[in-house]
């Protein structure tokens, strides 16, 4: 059968097949939808098994009594676990520490990231090398960075304390991580040091995509260097900034390893954040229900933040 014959045949046979096809369409998805489902199925299975099921498990456990060491503990708890978390004297300080740690970290990271990105956007000799080197803190594993900083900051043999004393900034070595008034700020500073290169790279990519013509047009229009920064640079950085800040607020608020490696939440709970508290509930008090209740609260807060960001972006795009 030639191509022409096939085409004619298919057109001729259409009226008879019409009713059957229409009927089938109601109960059976089209080949296109079936193919899409087939391609999506592996990912759907993975997401269900690795993300949805554990999350559902957390929510389930938050509503039940569960212990890691006592199999007799069980049964529906309703909102008891949530009530206990909110009544816990550790909760409000941990929440406050989490807010301080998150806000200061993200603000410091953004400021350092923006400053370095602006500096690295300027032409100077050796720029490519510096652009490569600046990423180093970010590629060092958190555990190694944390342990190294704990050494550097040690009051007895830490290099930083020795330098600060030698330069006359301090009269005697200070136990940065061991004193409750400086521990949270110190851990936050180290976190800023570790995370700002990610901002640098992202903001630098956005900066280099701004056409020079815009700056030149603004210069001719009478805008000075500061004005050009606010009128051209910042608006261009707004989308990437919003994304950077939202994902880092989430990453920082749920960060466990940095603080655990450096202070384990101490001294005297001065660096105890919500993730540390969750760990304590689960691994030191063995109360899975309580840990899951706090994790659920934390997850709800993060999900709300993400949703708000998505809505803001959508509203802006619609404009």
């Amino acid at each position: 059968m030639t191509t022409m014959d096939m085409a004619t045949g298919s057109i001729a046979s259409r009226p008879q097949a019409g009713i059957g096809r229409a009927a089938r369409r109601v109960f059976w998805p089209s080949a296109r939808v079936r193919a899409a489902c087939a391609f999506l199925a592996p990912v759907a299975v993975l997401v269900a098994a690795l993300i949805a099921a554990p999350l559902a498990g957390v929510v389930w456990n938050s509503l039940h009594h569960a212990s890691l060491i006592d199999a007799t503990v069980g049964g529906f708890a309703g909102l008891d676990n949530f009530r206990m978390v909110l009544d816990d004297e550790h909760f409000l300080p941990a929440l406050t520490h989490t807010l301080v740690w998150t806000i200061l970290s993200v603000a410091g990271e953004y400021a350092c990231g923006l400053a370095t990105a602006l500096a690295l956007a300027q032409p100077f000799r050796g720029r490519a090398l510096v652009r490569g080197l600046i990423i180093l803190p970010w590629v060092i594993p958190i555990a190694i960075a944390g342990v190294n900083w704990a050494w550097l900051l040690n009051p007895d043999y830490g290099v930083l304390n020795a330098w600060l004393v030698r330069m006359g900034v301090l009269a005697e070595p200070h136990d940065w991580l061991g004193r409750s008034e400086t521990a949270l700020l110190t851990v936050t500073l180290v976190n800023v040091w570790r995370s700002f290169p990610f901002y640098t790279i992202s903001l630098l990519a956005a900066l280099t995509s701004i056409p020079d013509d815009l700056y030149e047009a603004a210069a001719l229009d009478g805008a000075g260097i500061v004005r050009r920064f606010f009128v051209i640079t910042l608006p261009h950085l707004r989308p990437v900034s919003l994304t950077l800040i939202v994902i880092h607020v989430i990453w920082t608020a749920i960060n466990f390893d940095f603080i655990w490696v450096m202070t384990q939440g101490g001294p005297l709970d001065a660096t105890e954040t919500l993730p540390i508290l969750i760990y304590r509930y689960a691994m030191q008090e063995f109360d899975v229900g309580l840990a899951c209740a706090l994790a659920t609260l934390s997850m709800a807060a993060m999900a709300t933040l993400f949703l708000v960001q998505a809505l803001v972006v959508r509203a802006r795009e619609a404009r």
Binding site: D213, E216, A217, L220, D221, G222, A223, I232, R238
Partner: protein, 339 residues
């Protein structure tokens, strides 16, 4: 009306000299077009005048005042960029009003001037839109609006029509020329398109490798090119060039003939005193004209323009007859011979 004078202005990037020292005077109210091939330095020269690049030597005067070291904003010039350079997060009205805002003009006055510019450029309906919601032609109008609203001493255009399609380009050419007629402000316009240069300019400055090859009115440049470069750069299709015995027979080492000054006649033997024998190699039919490419027996290929439709078989023997009154004679170095 603002005059601009360049004295021994040069530009070097490191070791590389992009613009050797040159002099140029632009009279007040003149529409001057810098034209030349890519990389000839025409945009660099414009940017030197704008203050977007620092000059390496010489002086630039605007209305007699030395502005060589003045920042761009203090030169009182407005520039329209090839990319339009509109602020993407601002509305059309904010874009047009931006230079006035920078100059500290009160809001009410800005609104009035923006409305006036918008009405002149047919942008009134689009004032609240963002640049991303506009077509290329509309964006170009906004860029022009931003330039005219501040009543600059002179306008600088850097290949402003390059990103537009052919039909829109023709329309915008007329609009910019009309704008110049209405405002009477000095305009410097950079293009690589000789049609724009010929149709818009009072004065054309032909540039090549950073040097000025010729300055003159469009017809002066077309009719009496100073050298072979200008002769071949201006005019479409390009001027035919003859060398060797064919040129010697016409009285110069190099002869230039524009396609419209060649006549095609059927071959009547092996050449006459006035004609060059050859065979028709290719015909291009444009409707209004036909361009016939003829491979001459002496080797060169020439392009002859015939008005209207003209049919000739490929390979047909023909005689190409140049109009002697319109021959351009050049030395072997390419300089024009004036007789």
């Amino acid at each position: 009306m603002t005059s601009i004078r360049l004295r021994q202005v040069s530009k070097t990037f490191g070791e590389k000299t992009v613009i050797p020292p040159l002099d140029l005077e632009i009279a007040g109210g003149e529409f001057v077009v810098f034209v030349g091939p890519s990389g000839c330095g025409k945009s660099t020269l414009l940017r030197l005048i704008a203050g977007l690049e620092e000059i390496s030597g010489g002086t630039i005067e605007i209305d007699g005042r030395d502005v060589s070291q003045a920042p761009p904003a203090e030169r009182g010039l407005a520039m329209v960029f090839q990319s339009y350079a509109l602020y993407p997060h601002m509305s059309v009205a904010e874009n047009i009003g931006f230079p006035l805002k920078m100059a500290g003009v009160p809001k009410a006055a800005i609104a009035g001037k923006v409305a006036e510019a918008a009405s002149r450029l047919n942008l009134t309906e689009l004032l609240e839109r963002r640049p991303s919601q506009l077509s290329g032609g509309q964006r170009q109008r906004v860029a022009i609006g931003r330039a005219i609203v501040r009543a600059p001493k002179a306008f600088l255009f850097d290949e402003p029509l390059s990103n537009l399609d052919a039909a829109l380009r023709a329309g915008m050419r007329i609009e910019i020329s009309e704008l110049h007629r209405q405002l009477g402000t000095t305009m410097i316009y950079v293009t690589h398109d000789q049609v724009e240069a010929m149709t818009m300019a009072d004065t054309i400055v032909v540039l090549n490798k950073g040097r000025i090859e010729q300055i003159g009115s469009p017809l002066e440049i077309y009719n009496t090119p100073a050298n072979l470069f200008v002769a071949q750069f201006i005019g479409s299709p390009t001027m035919n060039i003859l060398r060797g015995p064919a040129a010697d027979a016409l009285g110069a080492p190099v002869i230039g003939i524009r396609p419209e000054h060649l006549t095609i006649v059927p071959a009547a033997g092996n050449g006459t005193a006035d004609g060059l024998p050859g065979i028709a190699a290719l015909s291009e039919h444009l409707g209004s004209d036909t361009f016939v490419h003829v491979r001459l027996n002496e080797g060169a290929t020439v392009n002859a323009r015939v008005t209207g439709e003209f049919r000739i078989d490929r390979g047909a023997p023909v005689m190409v007859v140049p109009e002697r009154a319109h021959l351009h004679r050049f030395t072997a170095n390419g300089e024009a011979l004036r007789i």
